[in-house]
């Protein structure tokens, strides 16, 4: 670790620090000796915990990013965002009587979804570049498989929820769409056949070792 790395100056949560240019903004805080515990999670960009607001030196406007995935840059300003409380939408898959009722149930759980005013707030803010607004629109129309497929990479960071003036919780709309798709429509025959064989006791295990 002897070689001299180039350094950059960044401002994180109001603290001006000078750090090696190879660090993420979380590593930069730690490197500079500032404690940071809350808002740190997987450190691989999939848990959605370390939400930061980033302003770059020569770029207009701000962007929402994941702190563990954001490399420090000269003149960058970073603010860690507090995580919002979970939204109040509540549902239980077992209480949806059958797949014909999913759409009705959806509108009961997410009544605000059809109020979407197409402001693009959710889509703009998404750090995973998901077309969030399109997903909400498709779910409102009952096209759940299509809607859910847009949310494959969603990390549930809730930034779209924060960005929605109608309090729609678009990521949870997307997750609802994904869950009903699996719950009502995944019936793999290879799995079902295997479960049946196990139920009939045809596949017991010999702990001394099998037919290798």
């Amino acid at each position: 670790m002897s070689i001299q790395r180039s350094k950059v100056e960044v401002t994180i949560n109001g603290k001006q620090i000078r750090v090696p240019s190879t660090l993420s903004v979380i590593q930069a805080l730690w490197h500079a000796g500032y404690p940071r515990v809350q808002g740190v999670g997987c450190l691989e960009g999939v848990c959605g915990s370390c939400r930061v607001l980033v302003r770059r030196a020569d770029v207009d406007g701000v962007s929402m990013e994941m702190g563990c995935q954001t490399l420090v840059e000269e003149g960058m300003e970073v603010m860690f965002l507090v995580f919002p409380s979970p939204s109040q939408h509540s549902y239980n898959l077992e209480q949806i009587p059958n797949s014909w009722e999913v759409q009705t149930e959806f509108h009961k759980v997410f009544p605000e979804a059809q109020q979407c005013r197409s402001c693009h707030g959710c889509t703009t803010v998404c750090p995973k570049d998901i077309d969030v607004e399109k997903g909400v629109e498709l779910a409102v129309k009952g096209r759940f498989k299509e809607a859910g497929d847009l949310f494959i990479e969603c990390i549930m960071c809730d930034l779209c929820m924060t960005g929605c003036p109608e309090q729609i919780a678009p990521n949870r709309v997307g997750l609802f769409a994904r869950r009903v798709t699996a719950y009502f429509h995944s019936r793999p025959s290879n799995l079902i056949n295997r479960l049946e064989k196990i139920r009939r006791g045809e596949l017991a295990i010999n702990k001394e070792g099998g037919e290798s």
């Binding site: 670790m1 070689i3 790395r5 190879t22 660090l23 993420s24 590593q27 730690w30 000796g33 500032y34 404690p35 940071r36 515990v37 809350q38 740190v40 999670g41 997987c42 450190l43 691989e44 960009g45 999939v46 848990c47 915990s49 995935q69 490399l71 995580f83 979970p86 509540s90 549902y91 239980n92 898959l93 494959i152 990479e153 969603c154 990390i155 549930m156 949870r172 997750l175 994904r178 869950r179 009903v180 798709t181 699996a182 719950y183 995944s186 019936r187 793999p188 025959s189 290879n190 799995l191 295997r194 479960l195 196990i198 596949l203 295990i205 010999n206 702990k207 070792g209 099998g210 037919e211």
Partner: protein
């Protein structure tokens, strides 16, 4: 971050030597597996081994860094508990990953009152990062027996066969349960589950969802928990277990990072689902683990008298990202190798069968680097190539279709993985051993149940890809069931930390320092113990010093 001598071929030169390969023959192994492990696997580094001096595993070998924490003093004493509120529940689940969620959901569904307390946020876990998939023998040529045999063999026959038998037989029903929670799997055109092969197995047995299996699982389970009657306490690290007068576990002491106070929870059953130890950075390795993976559960359980096993065995996943630095340690799924991606050294040569068990592949990579055939970057990171361009050549389009997360990672590092290989080096990934459990996750301490990575016995000395996700759900459900049943039992409701007095006596008696405090809670570099925000949670200093 690693100890490799930076002898090797420079990044630039290696890139010139590199070319995407259509086909390369399997190389002849130069060393026998046992020899390879002995010389190059980090578990066998002599200076890293210690012998435990106190507790149920006194006399057993253990990794030095882990031994230090297992033989550490508590973070609290009686004075810290003065005025702490007490909350009662049937079941206290500690840990917010897949195992904790599965246990909480099942216990609650069976009618128990459940509190799930987690150090960070619900879902901040290793589960969410699991990419490869989950094992379940569903194919015609496969069976639970073959799954059982493969698991035992990969673990070098150190596993508990009773646990492995349950695991293998549970597989298919675990997949069904996950689908019922709303989890998607990749299916073929007829709606059948697709499978791929894991290194070290004899059949295609991995069910998956792209390279997002853990993310898909975790977001579904988290949603299920939030929509259930389970009470979730985020940002509430557990600092100690509570004991009763019968040698049992009667609850836990939690700290709230929001209120900066201690709370006592009285529970009929405590389910520890705290995960692993990656953030202890054993042997100064980088890790693929999440921020909270600091081995807390092992320390808590050990103090209460629960025996541990295989404490000297850890998994270094062969393919961690070695460059760039800010993403070092990030995991690259074994799925990429399952699909036929080669590993190449700095000369552009294939040097191992990429689909052997993980310990063998990791040791082979370390050997290449130590013997000067690795690639070394300007900032002294050593590694070997993961030949994704070669895979693209043989199977055009497969990378984008099956590994969107990996392609996204490439983009972040400014690399088009269909054109340029990635530099990889083994990353500390998994704790193979843990607390000794029975088929329901019960430990030798009444009232204390352990599931998931904190528990030991299933993986022996080496874990197969896809068996961790299976274990957390299989044993998580078992633990939830047994905890729900036990809520009807009468038992002592005494809440005491008397076992800490015993611990301190033993530490003093063995001339061990009382200066190190455990559990670790957070990696040292996050400076939790210096953070003035949490001053109320730093221990009232004893007067002895």
């Amino acid at each position: 971050m690693n100890k490799t001598t930076p002898n090797g071929i420079s990044y630039r030169e290696a890139l010139d030597n590199y070319q995407a390969n259509r086909e390369l023959p399997l190389p002849e192994p130069a060393l026998e597996n046992r020899q390879l492990l002995n010389h190059f696997h980090p578990d066998y580094i002599e200076e890293s081994r210690a012998t435990l001096q106190i507790g149920p595993n006194k006399g057993d070998p253990c990794h030095k860094q882990l031994a230090q924490l297992l033989q550490s003093d508590s973070r609290i004493n009686e004075a810290d508990l003065a005025g702490a509120a007490t909350v009662k529940t049937d079941v206290l689940v500690i840990g917010g990953g897949g195992a904790g969620c599965a246990a909480a959901l099942i216990a609650q569904q069976q009618g128990a009152k459940v509190i799930l307390a987690t150090k960070l946020r619900l879902g901040d876990s290793n589960t969410i990062m699991a990419e490869g998939g989950i094992q379940a023998s569903i194919n015609k040529g496969d069976s639970p027996q073959t799954h059982f045999d493969d698991t035992l063999k990969a673990g070098h026959h150190h596993s508990d066969p009773n646990l492995v038998a349950k695991l293998a037989l549970d597989g298919p029903d675990v997949i069904r349960w996950l689908i019922q929670q709303g989890m998607q799997f990749d299916l073929d055109e007829f709606g059948d589950l697709l499978t791929r092969r894991a290194g070290g197995t004899s059949a295609e047995r991995i069910c998956f969802y792209r390279d997002y299996t853990g993310l898909e699982m975790m977001r579904v389970l988290r949603e299920a928990v939030y929509n259930s009657g389970v009470e979730v306490w985020n940002y509430s690290p557990t600092v100690e277990l509570l004991s009763d007068d019968m040698g049992g576990c009667s609850g836990a002491v939690l700290s709230s990072l929001k209120d900066r106070k201690y709370i006592q929870v009285s529970a009929k059953t405590v389910i520890l689902a705290t995960g692993g130890i990656g953030r202890m950075h054993l042997n100064t390795f980088p890790t693929s683990n999440h921020f909270g993976a600091t081995g807390d559960g092992l320390v808590l359980a050990y103090r209460l008298g629960a025996a541990l096993r295989d404490l000297d065995s850890f998994q270094y996943h062969p393919t961690g990202l070695a460059h760039p630095y800010h993403l070092a340690g990030t995991l690259i799924t074994e799925g990429v190798r399952s699909n036929g991606t080669y590993l190449l050294n700095g000369k552009g040569e294939r040097f191992t069968d990429e689909l052997q068990a993980r310990d063998i592949v990791a040791a082979s990579i370390i050997r290449e680097c130590q013997e000067g055939r690795g690639i070394v970057t300007e900032d002294h990171q050593a590694g070997v190539w993961l030949d994704t361009p070669g895979l693209e050549l043989r199977h055009p389009g497969l990378l984008q279709q099956k590994f969107p997360k990996l392609m996204h990672l490439g983009k972040k590092t400014g690399t088009d993985l269909t054109q340029k290989p990635m530099l990889i080096y083994p990353t500390l990934h998994y704790q193979n051993g843990g607390v000794v459990i029975n088929e329901n996750g019960e430990t030798s301490i009444p009232g204390l149940v352990c599931v998931g990575e904190v528990a030991g016995g299933i993986h022996g000395k080496n874990r197969l890809m896809g068996n961790a996700l299976l274990e957390i759900i299989s044993f998580g459900r078992r633990a939830g069931l047994v905890a729900a049943e036990r809520r009807k039992n009468k038992r002592s409701s005494q809440l005491s930390i008397e076992h800490l007095n015993q611990l301190r006596r033993e530490l003093t008696h063995s001339n061990l320092s009382l200066d190190c405090e455990g559990p670790l809670l957070f990696p040292e570099y996050a400076k939790f113990d210096l953070d003035s925000d949490y001053i109320g949670l730093h221990r009232n200093r004893r007067s002895h010093s």
